[in-house]
Symmetry: C2
Subunit: 201 residues, 2 copies
């Protein structure tokens, strides 16, 4: 393919992945057929096969593509300094539940299915790496070692995603409260450690 | 129905729910039909309809029944005194991932599907209530208020379930470490509070 054709092909493919994923989000993985998808996209079923080897390939590629965009959305709002952490903790759960709830639910349908489970494992390995890098960046700014920040991020994101999946406010709020308390205690502990070092030095 | 007939009906229904759920666990919600299920159970499809109104009813009832048994398994091992907490934190994730991983994955396929989502919400409301009761029981024994213990249980169980779903060791271990640290700091804080009260009194 010529460069321009490749670009056009990719743009059309991205558009199809978003449309298919949205349709799956509304109707569920189980019970949704290729013909329905094609009709929703305004193309023929054979046209879909021009972009995807088969239905499994379409499902896997669309999920990965659309969930990467969700993660980008999420990280765009992530705090980069200490004063911004509470704002982020308070605002993000409602926002992501509303904006991404159906997408998260669809992702779980896909990645917990025996057929696609290995893709789920790889997806979460990638997430771990990216959050660890982000925690390293935060370490200097927040004053807690990144090895402590990383699991706090995991816990927070997991609480947000569970809230997006099942709209469970009690579950979310209890966790946000205990996270705030824990962060306060971790910061106090690090400060008292550095005071001790200074008074000894 | 006579009492004995009701008992027999229920015993057979429970057996069918376990067999169907196990079959779904192996093969996934999407792609598994009623005929296949019936064959796996050694009954006719019309016999299955004697126990379940339709396939949705079979899926909803089997999921609720089998996941209640998983929760019972889990709670049987839950610690009831402070010294037992670390044993529980260390041993449970591997055990439940091995024993219940496929069941959790199937549960997520069901409860994140738009058709069954409302059942998922109700399931997690029940879980919240039961864990809150358990936290109240632990409060006196561990010396942390139940309002702090409850979200710590949520975080721990969520980490275990995510590990059971995606076998993600880094993710699990980082969270277990930070939970242990947080519990230590929470206990120390409660102790210093009660020391202050005593020295004032």
């Amino acid at each position: 393919m010529k460069e321009r054709n490749i670009e056009e092909h990719n743009a059309k493919k991205n558009e199809l992945m978003e449309k298919c994923y949205d349709y799956y989000c509304e109707n569920g993985l189980y019970g949704t057929g290729m013909k329905e998808l094609a009709a929703h996209c305004g193309v023929s079923a054979s046209n879909l096969y021009h972009y995807f080897k088969n239905k499994d390939d379409l499902i896997i590629e669309s999920t990965a593509y659309c969930m990467e965009k969700v993660e980008d959305d999420f990280m765009m709002l992530a705090p980069e300094y200490q004063e911004d952490v509470i704002r982020f903790l308070n605002e993000t759960p409602e926002w992501t539940a509303k904006k991404h709830g159906k997408k998260y639910r669809m992702m779980y349908q896909v990645y917990t299915h025996p057929k696609y489970f290995e893709h789920g494992k790889r997806f979460f390995e990638g997430v771990n790496q990216r959050y660890t890098e982000y925690a390293k960046m935060l370490e200097a700014k927040i004053g807690i070692p990144y090895t402590t920040i990383t699991p706090l991020i995991f816990i927070y994101v997991r609480a947000c995603v569970h809230y997006a999946l099942f709209e469970d406010k009690y579950y979310l709020e209890a966790q946000i409260e205990v996270l705030k308390k824990a962060v306060r205690l971790f910061i106090a502990e690090e400060m008292s450690k550095s005071l001790q070092i200074n008074s000894q030095g």
